[in-house]
């Protein structure tokens, strides 16, 4: 008998490694990942009149409101020759992507307990599919941003000071780090909410508060000038770096430096790995505790 023990395909046991991420298995379930993305995209706006138009409406209206309140009323400067509307649209588009990755993944376990309780597949597929779904949405919103950019640049003379920098080729990296940061945080929160449901309440208003600390509707430089004592809060927020860098790459205004980018990249990777570890630990037994 002993000689036959080597060729077991796999073993189900209570012991687990710190990171037990079976990439081969995830690859096997790639079709499921894509089907989940498809499901998320096509079912969200089923039986709505405007359908996918909602993808455009949300950021546009928010930008208009932000422009009215923060720029026209509160006179927050957005840089010379950069239309406030574009400035806000850039910030909101990025922030939305991060926010939806975070909130979308943070309820993975509680939303899918019916599914997870009945059938096994690598659980990480679900949060991954959320991030990918949001990427589709983000892609559409970027198109809107580009559309308005073109309008301002070629059909008005208001965008004289805005010009993309060559660093624009690094935008995919920004998106990547935003994605894994939101995913990592989301996975941590979803794992913790199983036992400590308080976090569910924290997340909904915490995300809103975080937006104000992420330089979405103001430039970092302006914050530093007005509130130098607490500006470190905003400065060390990796989302600030990403949004500022995004505006630097596309509009030419913003704070962009290599050390900060490295810091943000490391921060995101650490959060992501941490999220993965906690998520992995949780997925095996969560069905007993939820």
């Amino acid at each position: 008998m002993a000689n036959k023990n080597d060729n077991w395909l796999y073993t189900i046991s209570p012991k687990q490694k710190l990171i037990d991420l079976n990439l081969k298995e995830i690859w096997y379930y790639k079709d499921l990942l894509l089907l989940f993305v498809k499901r998320n995209v096509i079912t969200v706006y089923k039986q709505t009149i405007l359908g996918p138009l909602w993808y455009f409406i949300q950021p546009l209206f928010t930008s208009v409101i932000f422009t009215l309140i923060f720029n026209n009323m509160a006179n927050i400067p957005t840089g010379d020759g950069v239309p406030s509307f574009l400035f806000n649209l850039a910030g909101i588009t990025c922030w939305n992507y991060f926010k939806e990755c975070l909130t979308g993944t943070s309820n993975t376990f509680s939303q899918n307990q019916g599914l997870f309780g009945k059938v096994y597949f690598p659980r990480v597929i679900v949060p991954l599919s959320v991030v990918l779904t949001n990427l589709v949405k983000y892609g559409i919103q970027i198109l809107v941003f580009i559309g308005f950019y073109i309008y301002y640049a070629f059909f008005t003379d208001k965008a004289g000071g805005a010009s993309p920098k060559s660093a624009i080729i690094f935008i995919p990296m920004l998106i990547f780090f935003m994605g894994i940061l939101g995913l990592g945080l989301g996975m941590i929160i979803s794992s913790m909410t199983i036992k400590y449901r308080d976090l569910k309440f924290l997340i909904s208003f915490g995300v809103q508060l975080l937006m104000y600390g992420s330089a979405v509707m103001y430039p970092l430089s302006f914050f530093k000038e007005k509130l130098p004592n607490i500006s470190w809060v905003v400065e060390y927020n990796p989302m600030t770096t990403i949004i500022e860098a995004f505006r630097y790459m596309t509009l030419g205004v913003g704070d962009y430096s290599l050390p900060k980018m490295v810091y943000t990249a490391l921060f995101s990777i650490v959060v992501f790995l941490l999220g993965l570890i906690i998520f992995n630990k949780t997925e095996k037994s969560f069905i007993d505790t939820i």
Binding site: K4, N5, N7, W8, L9, Y10, T11, I12, S13, P14, Q16, Y28, Y29, D31, L32, L34, L35, F36, K38, R39, I42, T43, K46, Q47, G114, L115, F116, G117, K118, V119, Y120, F121, K195, K284, S285, I287, D288, T289
Partner: protein, 425 residues
């Protein structure tokens, strides 16, 4: 010939914590963590008791499964039977990797697909076809596999006309058909099936059982089948395992396992009544349901001998005029039949007596029954009447009606004489 073992379960145990998960868990977590960094064993793993639901336990922790061991050979169809709470579902959940074991391990040489439910992950807004793909992928099929079987699946489900309609417009039966069709076309090495067959109409159930038989017989697939339906277990499985309080109590041939399950002590709590304060003169002392070996038993197979035993105390003045009788009621409180005797036909003097009543075999249909006993002098004196004093259950072990669920066929099977002649027209 060496056995080709495809699945090996070794010392598998699973512990659950009872009560509310909430207050106190942080304390337990810290305690656990503290013993972990000191390199000690988890303090809560030592405690815990067997999972007997009816008794109030001392510990907050119970073992839903305790030291389960068994092997499954390739191509076998193994039934797992046991009462509610015996640990069947927990075992299934661990096998299908929905939850992890506390200790022990399962080794396997093939891919396991589990069917704890049909239609997992169906989205009401998506069309039938889209759901076939999604559900198939959730169950572990690749897109290519599903694509190649799509036609078969749709045909099997019988929903061809609706395949491009959102599932929310389907009748519930259609949804189940479509879902089962996907599941039936899974191609794993080991298939783990819960009582999914208990859905759908009779025609569909027949189809489902047929498909299961097909899978195991012709395709040589290994199947683990969990069910309460003894008839299905008997017809499908080559071997069966009986679980009780989270432990394996029997493992072996299906019919022996089914017999063992029916005979197991657990159900007998209601099959025996002892009168603790009998009257001095005449009374019913004990009532019990017995099998043909005179063992107390509350669970019978359809064709088994059922015996009602009554212990009586008879005083001299009752001997001449007294009667004892019983009524059998079903779960809807309908009286199925009654029987009564006059004591003087059997006994001539006072004393304690045991009356054995043999029920006719293969008459009561599978269901639950209760017994009412009366001991009296007719129209004159009621000595003792006991309502629902004992109850017993007849398990479905393969009557002609086992194919149907939830249909009322009455309570008795009568030996009707059928004949059929061919006619020309």
């Amino acid at each position: 010939m060496e056995k080709d073992i495809i699945l090996k379960v070794e010392n598998l145990s699973k512990q659950y914590r009872l009560g509310l998960v909430g207050t106190g868990t942080l304390g337990h977590d810290l305690n656990r963590w503290w013993s972990k960094i000191r390199g000690k064993e988890d303090p809560y793993l030592k405690i815990g008791e067997s999972n007997d639901r009816s008794r109030k336990g001392e510990s907050e922790y119970v073992w839903a499964l305790k030291d389960i061991n068994f092997d499954v050979e390739r191509g076998e169809v193994v039934g797992i039977i046991g009462k509610n709470g015996a640990g069947k579902s927990t075992l299934l959940k661990i096998l299908s990797k929905v939850t992890g074991p506390t200790t022990g391990e399962i080794k396997t040489k093939g891919r396991i697909a589990s069917l704890l439910e049909v239609g997992t992950g169906f989205h009401p807004e998506m069309t039938g076809k889209e759901n076939v793909f999604l559900n198939g992928a959730i169950l572990g099929m690749t897109k290519k596999e599903i694509q190649s079987k799509l036609k078969e699946i749709v045909e099997f489900s019988g929903c061809e006309r609706y395949i491009d309609t959102p599932v929310k417009r389907y009748s519930s039966g259609m949804t189940v058909r479509l879902a089962f069709a996907v599941a039936a076309h899974l191609d794993p090495d080991i298939l783990v099936v819960d009582e999914v067959l208990a859905v759908g109409d009779a025609e569909f159930q027949k189809k489902a059982i047929g498909k299961m038989q097909d899978i195991s017989n012709s395709q040589g697939r290994t199947v683990l089948f969990v069910s309460h339906n003894m008839a299905a277990v008997k017809s499908l499985c080559t071997r069966a395992i009986v679980l009780q309080h989270g432990k394996t109590v029997f493992e072996g041939e299906t019919h022996k396992a089914v017999d063992f399950y029916l005979k197991s002590d657990e159900a007998n709590t209601q099959a025996h009544y002892i009168n603790k304060k009998p009257n001095k003169s005449s009374d019913i002392l004990e009532v019990s349901m017995r099998d043909d070996q005179n063992n107390i038993c509350g669970l019978f197979g359809f064709e088994e001998q059922i015996i009602l035993q009554v212990k009586l105390k008879v005083s001299q003045d009752i001997v001449e005029y007294g009667s004892v009788g019983f009524r059998i009621r079903d779960q809807f409180e309908r009286v199925v039949f009654s029987s009564e005797i006059d004591l003087h036909q059997f006994i001539k003097k006072d004393g304690n007596y045991i009356a054995n009543v043999k029920f006719p075999k293969a008459v009561l249909l599978p269901s639950e029954y209760r017994v009412i006993i009366g001991y009296h002098v007719p129209n004159k004196e009621k000595i003792r009447s006991l309502f629902d004093v004992v109850d017993f259950k007849i398990e479905e072990t393969g009557t002609i009606f086992h194919k149907y669920q939830g249909v009322d066929f009455g309570c008795v099977m009568l030996d009707c004489k059928w004949s059929m002649n061919s006619v020309k027209n």
